[in-house]
Symmetry: C2
Subunit: 347 residues, 2 copies
C-alpha cells in the first residue's frame, strides 16, 4: 500500500463490502442515514484493505482544502515563530490547518505564495510582507481570500492587520526619555522612501523627541543590513567605536536588540546604567535576557485572531465581498531591566 504499489480506492472498498461507493463515502463522513449493519461491513472492508481517503480527490471535488497558508519571511526568527504559533491556535477552532511557508523576505517568493493560494492549494493566505511594496498592490486584487500582515502595503484592496507602529514607538521612546535618556540612538533596517516597519517606527521616535524638545541628530540613526542578532551586535560595536555620546537605544525589533545588548557587553558598556535599551515585539526570550529587555508588546494573540477572523469571513462567504478592513492591534510598553525596570514581569 504505497505509491507505486497498489492503493485501495473507495470503489475497492465498496466492492469488498458489497455496497456502493456512495455508501462508503457516507460512512467515512459520518452521514446519519447509514444502517449500523452496513456501517460495520464497510468499516471492516476499509480495515481489511487498509483504505485511506485520497485528499487530493476530495479537495478537487469539494473545491476546498481546509488549509490556509501562512507566509513569513524567516521561520527561525523568534517573532515569526511566536506569530505562527498564535495563528495556528486561532485557526484551529475554525477547523483550518495552517501550512507555513518561508519567503526569505523576497518579493518573488512572496508573490509565489500568493500564486499557490490563488491556485487553490490553500483556501486563503495570511501573508507577512517584507519584500513586496506598494507597487505590488495590483497583485492583491481580491480574487481570493488574503490578509496582509505587516506594514508594506497601505490602502491596498485587501484586509490588513498591522501593529500600532508609530504610536507604540513614540511611547517606547517616551519611556526612554522619562527614564532620563537625552541622546537616543535609533537602530533599524534600511529606511527608504517606502512604507515599512523601520520608517514607521522612526516616525514615532521622532515625534517623541520633538514632543520632549530634544534635538534630532541624524548621526543617531543607525542602520543594519538585516534585522538579525549578528547585525545588532555589529551595530553596537560601531556605535561605541564611533565615540558617539549615547544614553539610550531604541531597536526596531527585539531580535536586533538582543544583538545590541550583546554588542554593548562586548564593549564593556553597562546596561541600563550607562545606556538604556528598548526593543519592539516582546518575544519570549526578551523576558529572560540578562538584563531583561524592555520592549513593546503588540499583543500577538489579538493580531492573530483578527487576521484569521478576516480570512475566514472571506472563505465562508465568498460572494459577499465585504469592504477591506484595516486592523491595528493594541500595545503596551513593558518596562524591564534594560531601562531600569524590574527584573521580571512574569512569575
Amino acid at each position: 500500500m504505497e505509491p507505486g504499489v497498489y492503493m485501495a480506492t473507495m470503489q475497492d472498498v465498496a466492492r469488498a463490502a458489497g455496497v456502493s461507493a456512495m455508501t462508503v463515502s457516507n460512512v467515512i463522513n459520518g452521514h446519519p442515514k447509514v444502517s449500523a449493519a452496513t456501517r460495520e461491513k464497510v468499516l471492516a472492508a476499509m480495515a481489511r484493505l487498509d483504505y485511506r481517503v485520497n485528499l487530493s480527490a476530495r479537495n478537487l471535488r469539494k473545491g476546498r482544502t481546509g488549509t490556509i497558508g501562512l507566509a513569513v519571511p524567516e521561520i527561525d526568527r523568534p517573532y515569526y515563530g511566536r506569530l505562527a504559533a498564535a495563528i495556528i491556535a486561532a485557526a484551529a477552532p475554525h477547523g483550518l490547518r495552517v501550512a507555513i511557508e518561508q519567503t526569505s523576505a523576497l518579493r518573488e517568493t512572496e508573490l509565489e505564495a500568493l500564486a499557490l493560494s490563488r491556485n487553490r492549494l490553500y483556501d486563503g493566505l495570511i501573508l507577512s510582507t517584507v519584500g513586496m511594496g506598494p507597487q505590488d498592490a495590483e497583485w492583491l486584487v481580491m480574487d481570493h481570500p488574503v490578509v496582509i500582515l505587516g506594514e508594506r502595503i497601505f490602502g491596498g484592496p485587501v484586509d490588513h492587520v498591522a501593529m500600532p507602529n508609530v504610536e507604540a514607538s513614540r511611547a517606547a521612546t517616551r519611556h526612554l526619555i522619562e527614564r532620563g535618556c537625552r541622546r537616543i540612538a535609533f537602530v533599524s533596517g534600511a529606511v527608504g522612501e517606502e512604507v515599512d516597519v523601520s520608517s514607521l517606527r522612526h516616525a514615532g521616535y521622532q515625534e517623541a523627541l520633538l514632543e520632549a524638545g530634544l534635538p534630532l541628530d541624524p548621526g543617531l540613526r543607525r542602520r543594519v543590513a538585516a534585522l538579525s542578532m549578528a547585525d545588532g551586535a555589529r551595530c553596537a560595536h560601531e556605535l561605541v567605536e564611533s565615540g558617539l555620546d549615547v544614553d539610550g537605544v531604541f531597536c526596531v525589533t527585539d531580535t536586533v536588540a538582543m544583538g545590541v545588548l550583546r554588542g554593548l557587553a562586548d564593549a564593556g558598556v553597562r546596561v541600563p546604567d550607562q545606556v538604556k535599551v528598548i526593543g519592539f515585539d516582546n518575544v519570549t526570550e526578551s523576558g529572560f535576557l540578562v538584563p531583561s529587555l524592555s520592549t513593546v508588546d503588540p499583543d500577538h494573540d489579538a493580531m492573530a485572531a483578527r487576521a484569521v477572523g478576516l480570512l475566514v469571513r472571506r472563505i465562508e462567504q465568498p460572494a459577499s465581498r465585504p469592504e477591506p478592513e484595516e486592523f491595528v492591534g493594541p500595545y503596551t510598553v513593558v518596562a524591564r531591566e534594560s531601562t531600569g525596570g524590574p527584573a521580571r514581569d512574569r512569575d
Copy 2:
C-alpha cells in the same frame, strides 16, 4: 474570479484560444513542442480569462503534491525554528515545498500528521516525535515515506535521524569537568522508562562522571515540567534555594539553559565564576546571551540534509523499498563564556 464566482478552467482557455486543452496544458508546463504562434494565442487567452491552474486537480491527476510535511512540537521554540529553516533549505533543491505543522507535543496530533501524509496531502513526512513512543511503532509501517526525527522511537521500521545524544552529552559533561566542575547538576524533562532525549543525555552525563571518578548524587538531577525558559528559571531558583552545593549545570536544551542563566542571575549567582553552565542545541540566541552559552552543536544542516535525502529516496523510488536507515549526526562542543570560554565564536 473567486470561489463562488466563476473561475476559468483549462477548457475555457482552450475554447477561447481555439485550441485543445492539451495544448494549453503543454504551454503551461513549458513543453517544447508548441509553436510560438500557438503559445502566444494561449497565453493571451489565459491572461484575458485570468486563468489559474487548479492544483487540486493537478495533484489528483499526478498522484503527487510536490509538498512534504514537517511536523514539530512547537514552532516557536528556537530549536524547531532553526530545524525548520534547515529543512526548507534542504528540500528546495529537490523542488519540494515544506508545509510545517505543529503537534503541540501530543501523541494524538502526531498521529494525525501521519494520517494526513498517508492520505496523500503530502508526498512524505518528516516527523519530530515527542509524544509518540515505542509502543506506537506499529503506526510507522512503511506504507508511505516517513522519516522520524528525534529519539522516541528506536528500531522502528522506518528511517530515523537522531543526534549523538549520549556521546555528545558525555563530551559536554567532560567539558565542565575539565573546567574544574565537580558537583554538576543535570536539568532535564521528566526522565522515565522510555527512550527520550532527557534519559539519553542523562546517560552520557553519568558516563562522564563515572569516567572522571566523580560520585553520582541523585539530588543533582533536577526536573522541569516543560523544556521552557520559564521552567528553567524556576529550576535555577529551586536549586539555589535548596542550598545545594553546585559548581556546574548541564541543561538538556539551550532553551532551558537560557532560563537557568536568568534564574541564576536572579539569585545573584555569577556565571561562570561560581557556577558553569552548558546547554545543548546551539540555537542562534546562545551565542548572543550575556554570558554567551556554551553548548553542543549538533549540526542542524547535516541532519536536515540527511532527513530530506532519506525521504526523497522513498518518494522517488517507491517500489525499491530500501532497508530503514539510522543516521546519527556529528557534533561539536562550543566553548563560550558560560564555561569560561571566549565571548564570541562568530564575527
